[in-house]
């Protein structure tokens, strides 16, 4: 698809028009697919799982278009759907596998055998440490550490106060650094 300059206002208007909705939807998918994919992938780790969650995110967005009133940005709305789909997926997987507190121990081993993971042993260990965090704390860590998102933007995205997000991030950083300090 040719690189069409993104015009959110235009796309939002087109999404409201039943005759133009499908075309506008494909423009929206093209614009946000990679951003959302990496946000999901960092949480679920597996490419196949990330693909499933990403597709479900856009399908949820399509079926919920009538509920989008345009008060928030499209990116915020989509990221919220992606976040919820990711957390629901992780919860379902946890219930299926009956994972306990030691579940993260297997992450490094899983990543070592993953054809779509290029990191070395240190990277595997970092992902294992991050996976040991509670899901919402992982979200905050990933958004702040890897995406370098501002706390104010994160607050709008997650619906959590800036103060709570800062506390969550500092707590996550302390846990991960303790993980490496204990191993080194």
């Amino acid at each position: 698809m040719p690189n069409i300059q993104w015009n959110e206002k235009f796309v939002v208007e087109q999404l409201r028009d039943p005759a133009q909705r499908q075309r506008a939807f494909t423009l929206m998918v093209e614009h946000f697919k990679e951003q959302l994919y990496w946000q999901i992938r960092r949480m679920v780790l597996s490419h196949d799982d990330a693909d499933d969650v990403l597709q479900n995110t856009f399908i949820k967005a399509w079926t919920g278009l009538d509920g989008f009133r345009g008060e928030a940005k499209l990116s915020t709305w989509l990221f919220r759907i992606a976040n919820n789909e990711t957390l629901n997926f992780l919860e379902r997987r946890r219930q299926q596998l009956s994972l306990d507190d030691n579940a993260a121990v297997g992450v490094a081993a899983r990543l070592e055998g993953d054809p779509y993971f290029d990191g070395d042993e240190t990277e595997q260990q970092l992902q294992e440490a991050i996976a040991s965090l509670p899901d919402k704390q992982r979200q905050v860590f990933n958004l702040k550490y890897f995406e370098e998102m501002k706390y104010e933007d994160m607050s709008e995205l997650l619906g959590t106060s800036v103060g709570a997000l800062k506390a969550s991030y500092h707590h996550a950083v302390k846990k991960i650094s303790d993980f490496f300090t204990a191993r080194d």
């Binding site: 998918v29 697919k33 490419h47 779509y116 993971f117 290029d118 070395d120």
Partner: protein, 130 residues
């Protein structure tokens, strides 16, 4: 930067370790739309048929008169039935019983007989009254 964050950076290559299959993003949108079409999510609601113009049928004067006459008969039945019930003397107990009183076919016939007045009777009453 926090001291703890520095420790993490020492174990982070700075490169994204995750990869995707070749051409994954290029084909994503088309695969998604195919799936949505297959699941029936892209079906458009059936268009409503265009509203048909309403045909106006004008009644002739006789039809209009018969319509008004029928309405007058109905109104007359209501008035007569009400008068009949009012003129019947009822005690308190009979009033209470009225709630359970079922109008029989004989009652209905009596009411209708009371109401039906033919032309000759109208003429008689009018002449006798004066």
């Amino acid at each position: 930067m926090m001291k703890e964050e520095e420790i993490i950076r020492q174990h982070d290559s700075g490169q994204r370790p995750f990869t995707t299959p070749e051409g994954y993003f290029d084909s994503f949108t088309s695969r998604l739309m195919e799936r949505m079409e297959h699941e029936g999510l892209l079906e458009q609601p059936a268009e409503k048929p265009a509203a048909q113009p309403v045909k106006v049928i004008r009644m002739n004067p006789l039809q209009r008169f018969m319509r008004y006459a029928a309405a007058a008969v109905v109104a007359g039945v209501c008035v007569v039935a009400g008068t009949y019930l009012y003129n019947h003397e009822m005690s308190q107990s009979q009033s209470a019983e009225l709630a359970d009183y079922v109008i029989s076919d004989d009652d209905i016939d009596e009411m209708l007989d009371y109401e039906v007045v033919n032309n000759s009777q109208i003429a008689y009453y009018l002449t006798e009254a004066y």
